[in-house]
């Protein structure tokens, strides 16, 4: 596993740049990953998506299906790709500090 560093923090990541453990997620991780996922700034809507993904993950241990994302945030699929150009699975889940989703989102 490669190691990445940002503003004094460091994390172990997998080939696709997902964090090794949700426990290690913090604000710096968000700042670091949005750069690679094509997000310039985290707006309220970005956080709404990330927060929901994290809540779901804490409860069920997996990433939510896309249908649940649209239902619970009220965001259209297309809008989610505007927020996170690499999509909810690769983009939002990575920023939210989830380990790589296995084909769910």
């Amino acid at each position: 596993m490669p190691k990445v560093e940002y503003k004094g923090d460091s994390w172990m990541v997998d080939d696709d740049g997902f964090i090794d453990d949700f426990e290690n997620w913090n604000q710096n991780w968000v700042e670091y990953t949005i750069g690679t996922e094509g997000v310039t700034e985290m707006t309220e809507d970005h956080w709404k998506l990330v927060n929901y993904i994290q809540e779901y993950f804490k409860e069920y241990g997996i990433a939510p299906m896309v249908r649940l994302l649209t239902k619970n945030t009220g965001f259209k699929l297309k809008y989610m790709y505007e927020l996170f150009p690499s999509g909810p699975a690769k983009g939002a889940c990575k920023v939210a500090g989830l380990p790589k989703p296995t084909g769910c989102v």
Partner: protein, 424 residues
């Protein structure tokens, strides 16, 4: 110069057919990563395990599908294939290409990737094998801007729709398969590129029941051309086949002497619904009973032609074995007119998808959901009327049950008491 010794791969070149190993060696002359790929494959053969890691999420901005992440577990030995992703490129309908397109495609791919292609993957897409992560966006840019093409589907999306050659070259086609294929590809761009389904979904379109794209076995929704009116018969030509003036089956089986053409044995007796009659002069077909299987037309194409009132039969639920066993699609709409803009068809698709997205479990194909919930629920949600053509034989009815409110006067029996005496 070969970088690695590959005795196991070399053996594959000794057979009578062209070998992918030869192709890869050719490519390895200019592409270093293909040398590493040869070495990696040789090692896999030796170790009897694949040396690709499982999964991988990579992609291009704006899309959630179309790229499949691949990483080797031995980057120490084969650094050229450390990241070696697969791109799916949406094939044109019926795979009609100009040589110019193919040349450009190869140029783009040699510029950005390994130069290796697979024409085509089983879904139908053009497969570009071996892209480094940094080259994904530039490849995508050139494909869309210089070639005017697009990525295909991968993951839990609508996969690139595919169709047979249809009316472009086949006289049997009852459907403009290309128009429909192109139409649904454009209509469902969001579904194709941005995963939101429980699992993959495939449309495959065949112009007639010969089903050259095997839609019935491979598609979640099979669209198969058919006709409503009568088979057109040219009695003169029928007699010419019987007299041996025309080769049956378009001459397809002429490699062996099968004896003189026997219309009774080869056509009439093989009709699955036994609806044909040959009296030595004229061929009669009871079109009410004909199930449009295409057999007689295939054997005597100069004498028999598909009818003129054309449309399609829609079937749902085919798939390869994944969670459950393999399944063929089940007929749900015996006949639908298929004229652009295909509104009736799209309305059906929307209802079907709404239900599947609401009820489907993660990684559940629509055919499996129908198995779990019942065909009755499927035809209810898609507002299809159950008709006799949906079933094989009378009393082999797998999915139509009367509900109490549908029975005039209601049920008078106590169903529980009745079931005790008459167990199913």
């Amino acid at each position: 110069m070969a970088k690695f010794k590959t005795p196991l791969l070399d053996q594959l070149e000794s057979g009578p057919w062209p070998s992918f190993v030869t192709d890869m060696k050719e490519m390895a002359k200019t592409k270093e990563e293909v040398n590493d790929l040869l070495g990696l494959l040789e090692l896999s053969y030796k170790d009897k395990v694949g040396h690709w890691k499982h999964g991988g999420i990579v992609g291009v901005f704006g899309y959630g599908g179309g790229v499949i992440g691949r990483y080797t577990d031995r980057p120490d030995l084969f650094p050229g294939v450390e990241a070696f992703h697969t791109l799916r490129v949406n094939q044109p309908s019926s795979k009609f290409y100009t040589t110019e397109y193919l040349r450009k495609l190869c140029d783009i791919w040699e510029k950005h990737g390994s130069g290796m292609t697979n024409m085509h993957g089983s879904t139908g897409d053009i497969i570009l094998l071996g892209c480094k992560t940094d080259e994904l966006e530039p490849t995508f840019y050139d494909l869309t801007h210089d070639l005017g093409t697009d990525l295909g589907g991968s993951g839990s999306v609508l996969r690139s729709p595919a169709c047979c050659i249809g009316k472009a070259r086949c006289e049997f086609s009852c459907l403009d398969t290309q128009l429909l294929c192109h139409g649904i590809t454009n209509e469902y761009q969001d579904e194709l590129h941005r995963p939101a389904f429980p699992y993959k979904f495939k449309f495959k379109i065949s112009g007639c029941a010969n089903d050259c794209v095997a839609s019935i076995a491979r598609a979640d929704c099979s669209i198969i051309g058919t006709w409503k009116d009568d088979i057109r018969i040219d009695q003169e030509a029928v007699r010419a086949y019987v007299a041996g003036e025309f080769a049956p089956d378009g001459g397809a089986f002429s490699g062996r002497d099968w004896g003189p053409f026997d219309i009774t044995k080869e056509v009439v007796d093989l009709c699955p619904t036994r609806c044909m009659n040959w009296d030595g002069k004229n061929l009669k077909i009871n079109n009410r009973e004909c199930n449009r299987c295409m057999h007689c037309i295939n054997v005597m194409p100069r004498a028999l032609k598909v009818g003129l009132e054309q449309g399609a039969t829609i079937l749902v639920g085919g798939k390869a074995p994944i969670l459950e066993g393999a399944q063929l699609s089940t007929l749900v709409i015996p006949f639908m007119e298929m004229q652009p803009p295909f509104d009736e068809f799209k309305a059906f698709v929307d209802k079907m998808w709404d239900w599947w997205m609401e009820e489907g479990r993660n990684r559940e194909r629509i055919g499996e959901l129908i198995q779990r919930k019942g065909m009755q629920e499927f035809i209810e949600v898609t507002e299809i009327k159950a008709v006799p053509q949906m079933i094989d034989h009378p009393r082999e009815n797998p999915y139509i049950f009367w509900k109490e409110e549908e029975v005039e006067g209601g049920f008078t029996r106590d169903i529980h008491k009745y079931r005790k005496e008459h167990t199913i």
